[in-house]
């Protein structure tokens, strides 16, 4: 229990005492926000995963791309 508490305070104190680290975390968060919220939902809203629900549908989609349409 004491170990868990020590590890917890190790990380918390580490994050609290960061100087440049705070700016860097902000940059990372902005980047992830752009990728996962904006791009994923508004730009690339259609993907193999979202368009085809079953494994067979996905196989069929790729199979068609690799054969008939070429």
């Amino acid at each position: 229990m004491l170990n868990i508490k020590n590890i917890y305070s190790f990380y918390i104190n580490g994050f609290k005492n960061m100087t440049i680290g705070k700016t860097l975390w902000k940059l990372i968060l902005i980047k992830l926000l752009v990728i996962f919220l904006f791009l994923n939902y508004f730009v690339h809203d259609k993907s193999l995963k979202s368009e085809y629900k079953t494994y067979e549908e996905k196989v069929d989609f790729v199979y068609k791309n690799l054969t008939k349409e070429n």
């Binding site: 190790f10 440049i20 860097l24 940059l27 690339h44 993907s47 193999l48 196989v59 199979y63």
Partner: protein, 509 residues
């Protein structure tokens, strides 16, 4: 597939990969330099080395943090823009990338934290171990990525399953120890070590030119140039092996790298040259406006035999019976048989026709290694962009040679003379930082542009790999990425320069 869509998807991926590659090499090398410095601190117990370690560790962290998410963007793009490709390679990439993810996550979240937060909180020995493990961990992450990339350049250790339309791994060790993957890994990490060494000696030279933090800069220069000299020699050796593998597995890439149209024995390497822009595979123009050639060197580099035959672009496209090279036309016929067999297989499966199923499978298996050629429209399409491949390769080699010379000179003057009295050398070291990035990016361009039109060598051309989505979507995300990456790069440079400006005595880490 719409040509613009493929071009935009390629442009977007190239943009992401090249920006990502600005951050990665420094992380690979600086981690070890920092670990070496900390080892000296632990051994000598001299506070000077602790300060020095902390300074370079701070720059390592800035670079690491800014670069950390660009790799995720590449994986995001696999899912959105390269659906056919992702599906086709899924099982091969799944294993190495999962190992990379788990390893990177655990090593970095644990030991990275100890490395930064653990000064004076954990024992010196454990702190040092953490620093070394972060350095090793980031290199191990690179290993799995490069294994995956090596497989794309030379697909081995798998069988194609027509039921799932996927390549399934049947031998993990073949994938991991593929000679292409091994040489790619070693050459790439060595390039990262060289770049990090250039970074350390360049920044230290700046301090010396400004006449500040002199002892810190002089000692850092000695570490940087020693590490740089050793690793640049290793870079040359691994480059030699890399070129040998390219000659064996991707001869078209080698021909493009050298602007070699007609194959020849006793082939010389172009030490310096200007390509004739009018030259194409179908005309008789001279390939070079100007060239300086080192005799026999290409045969030696490619095949470790000064008299070996090195096939040219024409041999590889039109075939060379004497040398046993089959033409692209023949490969296209085999590829079309494979594609047709896949189609027949699916139909036979639907119709539950066992005989046709077995027959189709047999034809598919026999011709599968040319599957990608079934999608090639004309034979000339298998030639990669020659000018980009040639110039990138020669820029990389020329700069690599310069770096070896620079490390030798810097190490000599830093240890045997007072390097402060040689401002020209210090300026050369400083300006070699951007040259290191140029060489490193050029290396990637050689590897990736040189294998065009293949997303997966011989199995899948890029035109088939791309997802059919609206071109506008790809264009929008291209410009978003371009803006985001540029802003991040500016941010990194600003944060880095601010930190460097504070000097080694700064408490802000």
């Amino acid at each position: 597939m719409e040509e613009h869509l493929v071009d935009w998807s390629r442009a977007q991926f190239a943009l992401t990969a090249m920006y990502h590659w600005i951050f990665v090499p420094l992380t690979l090398g600086l981690g070890f330099i920092v670990a070496i410095m900390e080892s000296i601190y632990v051994k000598t117990n001299d506070e000077f080395w602790k300060k020095t370690t902390k300074f370079w560790m701070g720059l390592f962290a800035i670079n690491f943090a800014i670069g950390v998410a660009t790799g995720i963007i590449m994986e995001f793009e696999f899912g959105t823009n390269w659906a056919n490709y992702s599906w086709f390679v899924g099982d091969i990439f799944g294993a190495p990338l999962a190992v990379e993810g788990i390893l990177a996550f655990f090593m970095e979240s644990t030991f990275f934290a100890v490395m930064f937060f653990g000064w004076d909180k954990v024992s010196k020995g454990f702190h040092l171990l953490s620093t070394w493990l972060v350095a090793v961990g980031s290199n191990l992450s690179a290993l799995w990525i490069l294994v995956a990339n090596g497989w794309m350049q030379y697909p081995v250790g798998m069988t194609f399953n027509p039921d799932t339309v996927r390549n399934e791994m049947n031998n993990f060790w073949d994938v991991l120890f593929s000679p292409v993957a091994v040489s790619k890994f070693l050459h790439t990490i060595a390039s990262g070590y060289v770049l990090a060494s250039l970074f350390v000696i360049g920044i230290s030279s700046w301090y010396l030119l400004k006449k500040r933090d002199i002892l810190f800069a002089k000692r850092s220069i000695i570490i940087g140039s020693t590490f740089g000299l050793i690793t640049s020699l290793f870079l040359i050796l691994s480059g030699d092996e890399s070129a040998h593998q390219v000659a064996l597995k991707q001869p078209m890439k080698l021909a493009a790298m050298e602007g070699l149209y007609e194959g020849t024995t006793d082939a010389g390497i172009v030490a310096m040259g200007i390509l004739n822009p009018k030259k194409t595979i179908s005309n008789d123009e001279e390939p070079f406006l100007l060239e300086v050639t080192a005799p026999y060197a290409l045969s030696l580099l490619g095949y470790h035999d000064i008299h070996a035959f090195v096939p040219g672009i024409k041999d590889l496209v039109y075939g060379n019976v004497e040398q046993g090279i089959i033409s692209t036309q023949e490969k296209m016929q085999k590829g079309k048989l494979a594609v047709q067999a896949l189609e027949n297989y699916k139909e036979a499966k639907k119709a539950k026709n066992e005989d046709q199923l077995l027959q189709s499978k047999a034809v598919l298996d026999e011709n599968m290694k040319y599957f990608g050629y079934g999608h090639i429209k004309k034979v000339e399409d298998v030639v990669p962009p020659v000018a980009i491949s040639f110039y990138s390769f020669h820029i990389m080699v020329a700069l690599g040679s310069w770096f070896t010379l620079l490390f030798t000179m810097v190490l000599f003057f830093a240890t045997k003379r007072d390097i402060l009295k040689y401002p020209l050398l210090l300026k050369a070291a400083l300006w070699s930082i951007p040259l290191g990035y140029i060489a490193s990016e050029a290396g990637w361009v050689v590897a990736e542009v040189g294998r065009q039109p293949w997303a997966i060598q011989d199995l899948m051309p890029v035109g088939i790999a791309a997802t059919k989505i609206a071109t506008t979507n790809v264009m929008i995300s291209f410009f978003i990425f371009a803006t985001l990456f540029t802003v991040l790069l500016i941010a990194e440079v600003k944060i880095m320069t601010k930190q460097i400006g504070l000097g080694s005595e700064s408490k802000e880490h």
